[in-house]
Symmetry: D2
Subunit: 155 residues, 4 copies
C-alpha cells in the first residue's frame, strides 16, 4: 500500500507490536479511534463521528484529525523499527483541505523516507460521508527513532 | 499578554463569544480541557493529565498537545473577529520540543499577524510538573476568517 | 500529470501566463532555474548545479531547494487561475529527505486541493545524479489567490 | 539576544566557525546576503534588495526569504555546536505575513530548544523600508547535528 516503495520490516512481528502499542494509547481509546490496517510502512486509523470529537460547527475537530493522523504516521514508521526501538514525533504540519464532515474519518499514514535516526511520513485523511470519501486533510510528519528506554522527542 | 502588539477587539463582547464557542467543542470536553484565560489576541487552554489523553509511554499524547494548541490559537484569532465571523484552521505545524510529562499542559496562543482574510498565530505549550513549567511544544498556525454561514477551511 | 485529479484550467492561455510570470522572477534567473514543464495543476522547474546555489558541503543549498519548490507549487496553482488573478504563497513546509547532491535538481509541483481563495500544493524535489533521480525533499504549501492589483500574502 | 535563554557555546571559537562556513555557502554570495550578527544561539543575516532576488511583482521572492531564514536558523544552531560538528536542516515551515517589500530583508534566527541530536529554531524576518522594519515572515525550523564527516539530513 505505500506508494513509493516496498518496505521490508526489520521485525516480522511488527503488527503485534503496533497493535499492543496502540492499545496503550489512552487518547485513541478516548476518541474512539480504531486501528484498521497495518502493513510495512503503512498504517490506517479510523474514527467514527461523535459529539466527543466535534468542534463548534458539528464537524470533526481539527485536533481529532491531527491526533489520528499523528498516530497513523507514527505507527507507519513503527512498522519498520526493530523490537527494541521506539518512535516519537518531532514535528508535523497538518493542512486542512475541506470540512471534516461525515460519519467517519480515515487517516492513512505512509513512510516517505525511512531512516536510521529520522523517518518522514505523509498522512492523508479522508472524511467518509454516505460511503463516499472526501480528501479533507494532509500531514507531513518527521519522527525520531530512540532506544526503548528513552523518550526524548527533540534531542 | 500578546508579545507583539496591543490588539483592539472588533467586538467588546469577544470573551463571551469565545467561551460559548469553546463550550460547544465536544472534543475539548472529552479531553478535559479548560479555557483558562482570554484577552485580545490571546487565549490560554489548560489540560490536566489523565490516562484519557496519554500515549503509550504515559505522557501526554502529541495529538492532545496539538488539539489544545490548535484551539488556543484559533480562539486567540477569534478574539479579534466581529460578531458575525467564524474562524477555521488552514494549517498548523507543531514541533515537539520535550516530553509532555507532568500534571498539566498549558497552551498559550497569540496572534502574530491579524488579517482581513488570514491570521497567523503562534502557540507555545508548557508541561507543568510539580508546579514548574517546561516548554514542550510550539505551533505556527494559519487561520481563515469566514462568514458565520460558511465552513470552508481551504477555499 | 497531477496525481489526484484532472484539472480544467480556467484560462486556456495558462501556459503563456505562467511562462511570462516566471520570466519576471529575477530570483529564478539568478539561480539558473528553468521552467521545464507546465500542465493544468502541474509545474516542473529544473536547476542545474553550480557553486552559485551551493551550501558549505558542496551540495544544493536548502534555500535553493526551497526556492524552486516554492515557485513550482506557486505556478502549479497559477495554471488554474483566471487571467486577472495572481497567487501568493501563504506558507510552506519543506522536509529535506536526503542530501541534494547531483548535477541537477527537479521540483515537481502539483495542486492537491484547488480553491476559490486558498489552494494547497505538494511539491516533490529530486536530485539527479548520473541520470538517476533521488527523492530529496518534499513541500506542503498553502497559497492564496488575490486580484491582480493586490499583493497581500496574509490578509 | 536569544529570547528564551542564555546559551553557553560549546566552543569559544564559534563565531569564526560560523563566518567561515557562511563564506563557503555559494548561495549566500549569489543572493548578496550578509552575515550581520552572531551570538550564542543567535544569528542575523541581511539581504539588500535587487532584481536578482525578486519575484514577479518586484518584491523579495519567498524563496530568497526562505533561503536567508534557513541559513540564519542553521547558524544560530551552529553557534552551540562543537568544533567537529555540522548541522543540517531537517525541515522548516515558513509563514509569509506581509509583502517583503523594501530596501533590505533581515532574518533573525534564534535557538528555541538546543539538543544533543535535534535543535529547534525560530527565525523572524523583517522587511526594512525607509528604515522601518515590517515583520514579514516567520519560520519554525528543525535541525540535526551530525559528525563532520556525515551529511545526511534525514536519517
Amino acid at each position: 500500500m505505500p506508494e513509493n516503495a516496498a518496505f521490508a520490516p526489520a521485525d516480522a512481528d511488527f503488527e503485534r507490536r503496533v497493535r499492543e502499542s496502540f492499545a496503550r494509547q489512552g487518547l485513541m481509546a478516548t476518541l474512539g479511534a480504531e486501528l484498521s490496517a497495518v502493513a510495512p510502512g503503512f498504517c490506517e486509523i479510523g474514527l467514527p463521528f461523535s459529539d466527543a470529537v466535534s468542534q463548534q460547527h458539528g464537524f470533526f475537530h481539527a485536533g481529532a484529525t491531527g491526533a489520528i493522523a499523528d498516530s497513523a504516521g507514527g505507527y507507519a514508521a513503527f512498522t519498520l523499527m526493530g523490537p527494541g526501538d521506539t518512535v516519537l514525533s518531532v514535528d508535523y504540519k497538518l493542512n486542512l483541505l475541506a470540512p471534516a464532515r461525515g460519519e467517519r474519518l480515515v487517516a492513512r499514514g505512509r513512510v516517505l523516507r525511512p531512516g536510521r535516526t529520522l523517518t518522514v511520513c505523509r498522512v492523508d485523511v479522508f472524511a467518509v460521508r454516505d460511503g463516499t470519501e472526501t480528501f479533507c486533510a494532509t500531514m507531513q510528519q518527521t519522527l525520531i527513532r530512540t532506544p526503548a528506554s528513552g523518550a526524548r522527542p527533540a534531542g
